[in-house]
């Protein structure tokens, strides 16, 4: 599957500590958005506020209302006072009560915000879903005019929306871009449950330019879909690239020795020698069929350069 890839510049992804921090809500219409627009996509007003700030604002408003209630009760006490002494007592005790309430509120302000965020999410689920739907539609529409921006929008939405359809759209866009090592690329976040040609194509590209992103879940995906991948024109090349990238960690070789064995023969020299040395270092691997296969390949191809070899029964010798 060789397509013409276009050179693009992608903005780096700005992760937040918590996913909800990406959400913003319009103070005018209550619409939610996860995109970085200045104005609300629904009403067009520049009144977007982070959900945490919105919660803080609501908590402060609620506390203000409570203080107002305390003031009104104090005023009622003053109003029903029959003597000056009663008025003085009412004012004094009322002021004391209000100050006490204010102090309690101030010390509890921070702890109230998470509850308020929860309340906002629970009471405005419909609006939240509608807002995210609008965001997804905007990203899909953007594909025809600005593909990199469409991808960036989808990447932002995918922070909270876990959908294979959305991931597949991102993969389709990524497969049309000329990917570079300096790009802020994701892989595990885009992993979809079923076999998809775009997914495999992207894994192959990542294995080539950013092998550090090839982790256990990715190796598991390619091993699960190996027969389907091998049918593809670049299938073997991609699987070899994944096997080569997986050699960064000895653990992956220990976990997937059969996979390594199947592609050891196709590995480039530098990757193959890395595998050879990993097996030499890992005692539990020396008696496996992977070690035998690697020893055979090593003997046939690289013996003149090596000072160590593995015997056919898996024993290492100098």
């Amino acid at each position: 599957m060789m397509k013409k890839r276009t050179p693009v510049i992608l903005k780096p992804f700005k992760p937040t500590r918590y996913k909800y921090e990406k959400l913003r809500v319009c103070r005018n219409c209550g619409n939610y958005t996860i995109l970085w627009d200045e104005s609300c996509p629904q009403c067009g007003k520049s009144l977007l506020l982070g959900i945490e700030n919105m919660a803080l604002m609501k908590v402060k408003l609620q506390m203000q209302t409570e203080r107002l209630i305390a003031v009104l009760i104090t005023l009622a006490a003053v109003l029903f006072s029959s003597t000056f002494q009663h008025i003085a007592w009412s004012l004094g005790l009322g002021a004391g009560g209000i100050i006490l309430l204010s102090l309690v509120q101030r010390s509890m302000l921070e702890a109230q915000v998470p509850y308020q965020i929860q309340k906002i999410l629970e009471t405005s689920t419909r609006r939240l879903m509608e807002g995210l739907k609008l965001n997804i539609e905007a990203a899909y529409d953007m594909r025809s005019s600005d593909e990199p921006l469409a991808y960036e929008m989808m990447r932002e939405i995918a922070t909270v929306v876990y959908s294979d359809r959305l991931r597949l759209q991102q993969l389709k866009l990524l497969c049309s871009f000329q990917l570079r090592k300096d790009m802020d690329l994701q892989l595990e976040e885009l992993l979809i449950s079923d076999f998809e040609e775009e997914m495999v194509d992207y894994i192959g590209e990542i294995a080539r330019i950013k092998p550090e992103l090839i982790r256990e879940r990715i190796i598991l995906y390619v091993t699960q879909h190996e027969p389907e991948i091998l049918i593809l024109s670049r299938g073997q090349e991609i699987l070899t690239a994944v096997a080569g990238a997986a050699l960064r960690k000895a653990r992956y070789v220990t976990l997937y020795p059969e996979f390594m064995e199947r592609y050891a023969r196709h590995l480039p020299k530098e990757r193959f020698l890395r595998l050879y040395h990993l097996i030499m270092e890992q005692e539990e691997l020396r008696s496996t069929s992977l070690a035998k296969e690697v020893a055979d390949i090593h003997r046939n191809r690289y013996t003149q350069n090596a000072d160590i070899s593995i015997s056919a029964d898996g024993e290492a010798s100098s």
Binding site: Y20, F80, L93, V104, Q112, I117, Q118, E122
Partner: protein, 49 residues
């Protein structure tokens, strides 16, 4: 008499609010829980990984 009643209500109100605040602080909701809840709301009925 009503004055005393009002002042009593005021202090009862302050006490009740303080207890509610205190109980919420004691069983403080973590921000990770909010994240989980958000993801559950958004991805309900949707395939996820």
């Amino acid at each position: 008499m009503i004055t005393y009643g009002c002042i009593g209500i005021l202090f009862l109100f302050v006490l009740v609010r303080s207890l509610i605040y205190r109980s919420k602080r004691k069983h403080r909701l973590s921000l990770e829980e909010i994240d989980r809840e958000l993801l559950a709301i958004v991805n309900e009925g949707r395939e996820s990984s």
